[in-house]
Amino acid sequence: MKNFRFFYHFGRYCLLLGRVFSRPEKLSVYTRQIFREIDALGIGSLGLISIISVFMGGVITIQSAYNFTSPLIPLYAIGLGTRESIVLEFSPTIVSLILAGKVGSNIASEIGTMRITEQIDALEIMGVNSAGYLILPKVIAAMLINPFLIVISMFLGIFGGYSMGVLSGACTSYEFIYGVQSFFVPFNIVYSLTKTVVFAFIITSVSAYHGYYTAGGALEVGRASTRSVVYNSVIILVTNLIITKLMLV
C-alpha cells in the first residue's frame, strides 16, 4: 500500500506542476508577485544564512586544523580544505536544507492556511488559476535568488574560516589565503550552483504541494508544514547524491 501512496503523491505532484506552469493570466500581476517573493523568501533568509555560514566556516577550519597534524601536510591545506568543504557541500546542500526548514514550512503553512480559509476557492471562483498564481512566483523567485544566497554563504563561510584559523593560531593569514586560492576548479562552482537551483525548485514546489492539498483545519496546516520539511529533506539528500554522481564522477 505504501508504494501506491508514493505513486499517488507523485502523480498528483506532477499534475499540480502542470497547472503551475500553464500560461499566466496576467504577466504584470505575476511579475509583481515574483518580486514580493524574492523579498520574502530571499532577502528574508539572508540574516539566518549569514550567521550560520560564518560559524560553520569557523568550525570547519578548526576541524581541518585539528585533523591535519601530520608535518607532511602543509598548513595552507587548512584554507584549501575549508574552501572545498564550503563550496562543494556546506553552502549548496546544508544551507538548502536549512532553507527547506525555514522557507519550506513557511510556504506550506501559508498556502495551507489559504486552502482551509477558502482563499484558494475564492481565487478559483474568480477564474484565476490558483496553482499558477500562488506557486509559480515562489518557484521562480527561489530559483533566481537562492544562487545569490549561496554565493554569499560561500564568501561568509570562508571568511568565518579565515577569522577562526588566524585567531586560533592554526595557520597564518598568508597560509590560509594561499590555500583558498590554490587548486581552484571553476567547475565546482557550476556544480554547486546547479545543485542550488535544483534544490530551490524542490523546496518551493514540494512544500507548495503539501500546502495546496491541505484539508481540514489548523491542525492539518501544522502537519502539512512538518511533512513538507521531512519530504524536502529526504528529496534534497537523494537528489544531491544523484547530481553529485552525474556531475563529479
Binding site: E25, K26, S28, V29, E110, T113, M114, T117, E118, Q119, D121, A122, E124, I125, M126, G127, V128
Partner: protein
C-alpha cells in the same frame, strides 16, 4: 438564468442535497433559506463548481456548467462574484488590494479607474477610509463587507452570497441587503443569497427556495412565506417569539 435540475450530493454515504431543482432569475433576489446544516452552502458550492454534484444538471443560460471545458468554465467564473460564508479575504493583501485584485486580473482598466472603482465599492459597503487595513485588523462583520465589495468590484453577472449579513448589526444588515437588492435590479444580476435571517427573507425575497434536510421543500416569495401552511417552513419562519406574535391565525 441559472437552472438546477435534480441535484444530488452526498458526503461519504450521507445525502446532503437531494433532488433539488430550482430556477434563479436575473434581476431578482433569489434566496435559499433553511436551517443550519441543511445543505445551503453545499448547494452554492456546487453551483460555482467548487463541489461536483453526484448527479443532476446546472445550466447557465442553458449550458451545462458541469460538463463545460475548463476554458469555458473560467470565462463563466470571471463573471461570478462570490461572497464566502467566512469572507475568504486574502490575508496578505490590504482591504483595498483585495478589492482591486479581480479588476487587475481580468479588466483592462487603468490604475486610476481601478482605485476609483475600489473606493466606490468600499463606500457602498460603508468601509470608506479602511483601505489600508489588513483582514486581520477587521472585525467579523467588516470582513464580510470587504468581501462583498470585492465580489461587486468587477460588476459580476452572477452574484453568490453566503449569509451576507450574519455577524452584522440589524442596521448594517439592512444596508447590505439593500445594496445587494439594488445592484441586482440595476444591473440585472442573477443573485443567489443564502440566509437564515428572517428580516432579509421578508425584505428581499423575490424568489425563495426553502431547503429542509437537503430537500427542495417549498418555493415562493416573501409575501407567500408568512401565509404558508407548510409545517417545517412555519417552524423556520416563526421560530422567534417576536414573529410568533405576528403569525396569522389559521
Amino acid at each position: 438564468m441559472i437552472e438546477l435540475k435534480k441535484i444530488n450530493k452526498s458526503f461519504s454515504e450521507r445525502q446532503v442535497v437531494s433532488d433539488v431543482s430550482f430556477i434563479f432569475h436575473p434581476g431578482k433576489c433569489n434566496l435559499v433559506i433553511g436551517e443550519s446544516g441543511s445543505g445551503k452552502t453545499t448547494l452554492m458550492k456546487m453551483m460555482v463548481g467548487l463541489l461536483v454534484p453526484d448527479s443532476g444538471e446546472i445550466l447557465y443560460e442553458g449550458e451545462n456548467f458541469i460538463s463545460m471545458d475548463i476554458k469555458k468554465k473560467q470565462e463563466v467564473r470571471q463573471q461570478i462574484g462570490m461572497l464566502f460564508q467566512g469572507g475568504a479575504l486574502f490575508d496578505s493583501m490590504t482591504v483595498e488590494e483585495n478589492v482591486l485584485f479581480p479588476m487587475e486580473m481580468f479588466t483592462g482598466m487603468s490604475k486610476k479607474e481601478r482605485i476609483e472603482r475600489a473606493n466606490f465599492c468600499l463606500s457602498r459597503v460603508k468601509l470608506e477610509g479602511k483601505n489600508k487595513l489588513y483582514p486581520a485588523e477587521l472585525s467579523g462583520g467588516m470582513k464580510k463587507r470587504a468581501a462583498l465589495a470585492r465580489a461587486l468590484s468587477i460588476n459580476p453577472k452572477y452574484l453568490f452570497c453566503d449569509e451576507p449579513n450574519s455577524g452584522l448589526d440589524p442596521k448594517t444588515s439592512i444596508v447590505i441587503d439593500e445594496l445587494i437588492r439594488e445592484v441586482t435590479q440595476e444591473f440585472n444580476i442573477i443573485t443567489m443569497v443564502v440566509t437564515h435571517d428572517m428580516n432579509s427573507v421578508l425584505g428581499m425575497g423575490d424568489n425563495i427556495l426553502f431547503i429542509y434536510k437537503g430537500q427542495n421543500w417549498w418555493q415562493g416569495n416573501s409575501s407567500q412565506v408568512l401565509k404558508t401552511e407548510n409545517k417545517e417552513l412555519l417552524d423556520f419562519v416563526y421560530a422567534s417569539e417576536f414573529l410568533k406574535k405576528l403569525k396569522p391565525e389559521h
